[in-house]
Symmetry: C2
Subunit: 351 residues, 2 copies
Amino acid sequence: MKDANPTSPARDAGAKTQAPSPALLFDTINGYHQTAAIKAAVELDIFTALADSSATADAIARHAKASPRGVRILCDFLTLLGFLTKSGERYSLSPDSAVFLNRKSPAYAGGTLEFLLSGHLRGAFDLLTDAVRKGGTAQAQDGSVAPEHPMWISFARNMGPLMAPAAGGLAELIALDPVRPTKVLDIAAGHGAWGLAFAKKFPGAQVVALDWAPVLEVARENARAAGVQQRFSTIAGSAFDVELGGNYDVVLVPNFLHHFNTADCIRFLRRAHAALRSGGKAAIIEFVPNEDRTTPPGVAGFSLIMLATTPEGDAYTFAEYTDMLAKSGFSAPVQHSLPASMNVALVAAKS
Amino acid sequence: MKDANPTSPARDAGAKTQAPSPALLFDTINGYHQTAAIKAAVELDIFTALADSSATADAIARHAKASPRGVRILCDFLTLLGFLTKSGERYSLSPDSAVFLNRKSPAYAGGTLEFLLSGHLRGAFDLLTDAVRKGGTAQAQDGSVAPEHPMWISFARNMGPLMAPAAGGLAELIALDPVRPTKVLDIAAGHGAWGLAFAKKFPGAQVVALDWAPVLEVARENARAAGVQQRFSTIAGSAFDVELGGNYDVVLVPNFLHHFNTADCIRFLRRAHAALRSGGKAAIIEFVPNEDRTTPPGVAGFSLIMLATTPEGDAYTFAEYTDMLAKSGFSAPVQHSLPASMNVALVAAKS
């Protein structure tokens, strides 16, 4: 490993290309540094300081009321992660940061940190070794699927804005009659964004949101803000137990099934099937990894969250959802991508 | 975003290539999931289960005394991170995992988690927003550079094996007279691996290790294990204050200077200069980012650790070290890569 050109100050790049490297190991052990860096950047509103133009660490520090040295080191880290670009001493927003991390953007997603870094989720990962031993969450009381778990209020309050583009995209995918009265059931509605996209697009659509009672307060607020409260109603309780009503044109199932085992998914899908009118559609919005379960990374990685936080949940593949839908009386699903989302929609008709 | 081919079950890959995506944001917020996953894998010894051949989740689970379902989800996650490969249902070690994560490997680095995930380091990152505001660690008592900080005992106990290949590489780079008695001073020696590599290679070398007294216990154990205790002695105390002795052929400065501001680095380097014989060499082993301070990622990212854990430390560039060395009476340094390490060595002669 001697430097072939000992008079050169340059890094002898390439010499170690095939040599063993602990770089990935350290990056991964230090994953929590990334969490801390993005949290600090959002708390100090670094990205909004760059909303209108590039800036130096000194200028950003004035906006953030922070130390220039601290901001310089943080911004270099945000640059190497890909959130910023750096030219000379000036930092600029990446295109994705301009959309999701600038507070002036309608798709600002900084609020998601409150949910994604909640004590419940962090605590679940502190117990991950035990979860692997057990094959499901090591948290008390079934983790996130415990009845009325308070984390869903934080979910509803913080994750809605991020879902809006995808929800709008889904409403474009499913054609409801614009004149005739139609009915949409939104399961585990949370913020209500999925159902509300249908209410906004289709003036004849009645939307029924189902969730735990305290969570529905958030959905109702959002319905009022969207001006569709006259066509918005709610059902409080468990999607497995409460009366769902009937004759729906669409049942939306957004990021719900991944919390359960396949038998429970089928049990729920049969209830959804019974609640649909003939020819009605189920739209399952989900993290659907490829059949190898390891790609795409952000989607396949969702499975670990289910291991950490639920007794038996998983990120199911297209083949698995196709099988569950067939066993519940549905046609084979069609998979659609959704805007600005790692979720896809699987749309299947009541057959 | 409608699916152009609604009968195809395939993901319409590529459609979102240029569209905004929150994927990087979520990956980064969820960085702590990566920390938890590698910690669980090391605690359950997943990698050693694959030391001799590929295996299914069921077989790994028997070795790990864990649930097949939990192991399958964890191994899929380790695969998407790059630690494993997956073919059908069988997982295999990546080349780097075989070197660093298999307990049967002499370069096994699983012990580094105890140091890198210590309460001290995690606590420093919990206070990162405050550190950015302040421009230095928000921990009490100057963080990791407080006198006799106990974290250095964990460092010495856990980080040594990982450094052994790089230390051996450094001893190859610096030619000491194999016959004449020579003297090597190892600053902030910790585990002692850097100095011990010289003791092992050069039978005439006397090695003097400097560190806090409780840390030197670990270095002495390692000197005994290497069978060089007759040529190994210690100096307890601060490298800025204690008597260093003189007439050294080499002063090793491994991962020490990054804890301090440049004025203190120069102050130390002048002491090292005074302790060297004429023509003797300083070898600074360090994380040295490129001049842009954002590449290579693993190296440039080290700066954030110094922000979180020290009052004024940093990952200095080659130009900055060249300047500090010039101001301390040294020649311009030559930079060498080191085996299996993100560190490089900057070697400069007393001029």
